[in-house]
């Protein structure tokens, strides 16, 4: 196993890089769509369009979405999409279905009075969202968002579907060469646990910051 340290490090880099990219994209898209489809701002037509988006994003398995993104979309559009971009794009699309629902629920949970107070105090919409609504929404949805980001970390193993050598595939490659599945699987599991623990620590810190005077 020690001999394979450099390929393992490369696998870790690919996994963490993919996770960072997909989680940023998922959070950005989810926040945007969650905002524009919330009860206070969204029209009925817009909300149903976004509901359709989340239905498709959540309804198709991520594995299938990756294959579609890498094989079918380029064929239809006549473009060449690199494997890493296709896989990360597909994962981000799939995850954004969940983050949109989470964000929308969090924003809808903010009492109407907060929006009204912002309006009577002359806040423009951007200030309402940035200073009051989103910080309060994050307090409610932080655990759910954290769960989705943790799930996304493990979903990066699906990148192996189209040949990207992330951490899990690196382990499988080592097993095929050394035929030592138990230590390899345990090592891979341990590494994922380390990443999850780091993410968990960040989430716990964020949740504590959102207590706003409650103990």
């Amino acid at each position: 196993m020690i001999a394979y340290i450099s390929v393992i490090m490369k696998g870790i880099t690919v996994t963490l890089g993919a996770w960072l990219l997909t989680s940023c994209a998922s959070l950005l898209i989810g926040t945007l769509l969650g905002i524009i489809s919330c009860r206070y701002l969204g029209s009925a037509k817009l909300i149903s369009i976004i509901r359709m988006y989340t239905f498709v994003a959540k309804g198709i398995p991520a594995y299938v979405q990756i294959l579609i993104a890498y094989f079918i979309v380029p064929a239809l559009l006549g473009v060449n999409i690199p494997a890493f971009a296709a896989a990360c794009g597909a994962l981000a699309f799939c995850s954004s279905g969940y983050t949109t629902e989470i964000m929308r629920a969090g924003i809808n949970a903010i009492p109407r009075g907060q929006w009204d107070a912002c309006a009577t105090l002359g806040y423009p919409l951007s200030a309402q969202l940035k200073r009051i609504i989103l910080p309060q929404a994050f307090k409610t949805i932080a655990p759910a968002l954290g769960g989705e980001l943790e799930q996304l970390l493990k979903s990066t193993s699906l990148l192996a579907t189209i040949g990207i050598t992330e951490l899990t595939r690196t382990g499988m490659n080592i097993i095929s060469r050394e035929l030592n599945p138990v230590p390899v699987y345990l090592t891979i599991a341990g590494l994922y646990l380390v990443f999850s623990a780091m993410l968990g620590a960040v989430l716990m810190y964020s949740e504590r910051r959102f207590l706003y005077g409650q103990r």
Binding site: A75, L77, I175, P181
Partner: protein
Amino acid sequence: MKVIKYLLLAIVCILAGSFYFFRTKSKSKKDGNTLVVGIAAGYAPWVSINAQGDYEGFDIDVINAVANTMNKKLVLQDLGSMSALLMALDQNKIDAIIWGMSITQDRLERMAMVRYQGDTVKSFPLLFWGKIPNNIITINDMKNMTVCVEPSSSQDTVLSKYPFINTMPVEKIDDALLNIQYGKADAAFVEPAIAKKFKNKYPEIQSLDVPLAPENQEFGVGICIRPADKELIKGVQNAVDALLQNNVIQEFEAKWGIGS
């Protein structure tokens, strides 16, 4: 709302710009002097990634030699799985596949396969951990027993003819080793080359040969090419013939412990 609309517009522009940036004609990566070959690492000794992060294995040595013989620049594309390899070949993303693919009647109906290694296989091995149970003489004695097999493989097709056997699909054939070692399955049904690899590492593995009907027999392993690519088929065939004649492939077999 205006800010959000502008942000959405910006995202759409970035995506459209990315498509423009990535747009290429589907064949632009490939030209007359390049041979793009699909592989899937993680199947030692055929194809795997070594400790330095480079692709190596019997298939890698063979395809490098084929490309050199044809005076073409080799481009390897790791696609991770059989389904991805076949899709890429269909879509003209790659010129050929080299992945220790057994030549079967079924596959020959769908694509051209240039044999580069192996003889006709008339039986597949059933692997047992430790002693083969006394009452098992042939596969027909294995009623209600559980056997690991890789889905959609040649072994899977053969096993479907024995409905009294419980099939346990394993995504990676190396996982079959875990299953028989820890008693999750009674046996594993694998390629002869895989059986040889397992037995070399673990002498406690015993095997039982299962004879194959003519339609299930394999005729070695081959490089897969689209049937319409007649020129490429001819070029690869000539290269492989030359390498076999000069004992190059045989040397690779000895190097990687493949074959009898």
